[in-house]
Subunit: 392 residues, 2 copies
């Protein structure tokens, strides 16, 4: 049975090379005092910082800045940003960067509207309501998380070793600027991690035995084919516009909610990976690449094999006349080949410095002390088993 759903993605996207000319008028809709947020110095090295500042000045807007947002962004950055918004009566936040910068900016925008500590939004025991947020505009520099077109954000708290995500409609950006040339300087390694993250976003939804809309399965297969085709090109030719453009637009559509239809949305690999990177601070996409094929292998049985066959035949063009279990294993093999050979990502936990020390803790946190209700419901011991499969 296909469940009911509400589709509502009112983000305006300016896609292409020559769109910053619209930045001033877009920001002006929300006021005159702009807080620009970013990470390290990469946007300065690539010249984007200067172009953005110039557009803001030309529009007669007042500019404030917050830099130093880290990968796997931390609650302390969010606290700083929320306080800046309050101190300077900020009207609109402009996040310039990848998913980390945009995610942190979302919670700054929400934190600016409340009196309590922003971590209260993410503390599972408090889960403070997110009723509103200052308007957010983003300029994307990394195709991966989809934060530019969704209402989700993930924040880390090193003190508590937590990495927690949350969705709230108020966090949706009003507009995002997607210029593929802003990703030309992304390294081959980061391009690969971004591609793995995008693949995971699709696989988390695609692997679901609930009946849903065939047209959305077709779309997800198209997105997977797009990533598989263009990620290696972007790694080899970092300034290939067609490759960067396809990866960039695919990254948004992999996770903006459209592909879900009426599917239940419980994910599996993301909760597991969040526990890894909360402790080890490895790149999110890399953790997902290591986990995903093992998780697929662990969940494969007679009741789930049809989904693997669908992926194998439609995405990897595996001969549909083979036995279903053979197609399924071949599909997992092709995906592993994509992650570990084509994208050249590390294949095992030991290669990225993870040992068994925290498996029990991480598994318990991933299942929230109960069951992770994804494609196949997973208990703590299932997650520990999947972690063990990543050791070799």
């Amino acid at each position: 049975m296909i469940n009911d759903f509400i589709y509502d993605i009112p983000v305006r996207v300016y896609f292409g090379r020559d769109q910053l000319k619209h930045l001033g008028s877009e920001l002006r809709k929300y006021g005159t005092r702009v807080l620009m947020t970013y990470g390290g110095g990469s946007i300065k090295r690539m010249g984007l910082y200067d172009r953005v500042v110039e557009a803001i000045k030309e529009a007669g807007l007042e500019l404030f800045e917050l830099s130093g947002i880290e990968p796997n962004p931390r609650i302390d950055s969010v606290r700083r940003g929320a306080q800046l918004c309050k101190d300077h009566q900020i009207d609109v936040l402009l996040a310039v960067g990848g998913g980390s910068t945009i995610d942190a900016t979302k919670f700054m925008a929400a934190g600016a509207c409340v009196d309590h500590d922003p971590w209260d939004f993410l503390d599972l025991k408090k889960w403070a309501p997110i009723e509103r947020a200052l308007p957010i505009v983003s300029i994307l520099t990394l195709a991966a998380t989809g934060s530019e077109m969704d209402c989700a954000a993930v924040i880390s708290n090193p003190e508590t070793q937590d990495k927690i995500g949350r969705l709230a409609p108020a966090l949706l950006p009003k507009a995002s600027f997607l210029d593929p040339t802003n990703t030309f300087t992304v390294s081959a390694y980061q391009t690969a991690c971004g591609a793995a993250d995008m693949m995971s976003h699709i696989i988390e939804v695609y692997f679901n035995m609930n009946e849903d809309l065939y047209m959305l399965d077709c779309f997800m297969e198209g997105l997977m084919k797009t990533i598989i085709r263009f990620a290696p090109i972007a790694m080899r030719e970092p300034d290939n516009y067609e490759a960067r453009a396809n990866l960039m637009w695919a990254s948004s559509w992999a996770i903006n909610g459209f592909v879900n239809g009426g599917r239940q949305k419980a994910w599996s690999c993301h909760p597991m990976e969040h526990e890894l990177s909360a402790i080890y601070d490895i790149t999110h996409g890399l953790g997902l690449a290591i986990l995903t094929p093992r998780w697929m292998d662990y969940c494969l049985d007679e009741t789930t094999v049809s989904k693997y066959v669908q992926m194998g035949t439609n995405v990897f063009s595996i001969d549909p006349t083979l036995a279903p279990m053979d197609i399924a294993h071949e599909a997992i093999g092709r995906l592993s080949d994509f992650f570990f050979n084509t994208l050249q990502l590390k294949r095992t936990f030991p290669e990225v410095g993870i040992d068994e020390t925290h498996f029990a803790l991480m598994a318990r946190k991933a299942v929230g002390g109960g069951t992770l209700p994804g494609f196949k419901p997973l208990q703590q011991q299932d997650v520990e088993q999947i972690f063990k499969m990543c050791m070799e």
Copy 2:
């Protein structure tokens, strides 16, 4: 080169069986005085009329009605509706029906905001600006035109034998209710015409030699496969929810603008068909089904064959090792087979009562007295030739 584009589709869609519970709160956002517009009595026979009226009354809203909107909606209906809005200070229009009802309602909503005749919006010599419109909500009962999620509308003027379409952001519905069960009573013939219309919307964009995003081509191929798979099921089993749901959501996405990316948007078969149905009042989708394979045949040459090969291999799974021209002809043949055998639509002009009398006039109007700048630029004599190909 991939052109820049702006993506902006802020329509909220309530999809599924049990969504009318949200109708009252959705309408209330815009005010209390609702003009409900519809066509003939079909929404009464299927019980939808009563359910909508009940939801409106329960929400404490004041209901006004305009019925009798015709297929290929006429400017006189638009005039009546615009006047009603003015006379009763309507706050929001609720279109309940297919594309004809929604299209007419869009121009009522715009007409309500100006002092001049609504035809001035469509008269090519006047082309009055469409700066605003009253808010529009739709409840869709026919999967075909995509009017529920786009800002376009087509209106006929029998006095001038014109049928003219226009796009304007102000015409975009605020929200649309898509309940596949509301299409269970659509006849096999109307289901077929709707499917042909949707196929044409995709083909008009897909057949374009400008380089654009591969991921959008994949999506269009998925939409075509969806229509080809589910249209015959819906014809055989009118209350098959899965088939109706896939057709309904595909109809919206075939034409809401997403598939365009940065492609130039000039269409070919629609302008030709509009001239047919302006004079002969045949069903829009039927006219498109007859024209499309002939137009594809006419435009096929060495410079365009690659697009036909792409469609043939990816949509119809034709053996990619065959010669390109053979694949192209086979693809046209498969599409004709889908239209004229699977969907059981009439194949030629004579079968639907069209003869050569008005070919020259219709062709001249279709090219606007100059060139139709679509997939292949067409002059009047090209269009006349395509019309002639439809005679047998």
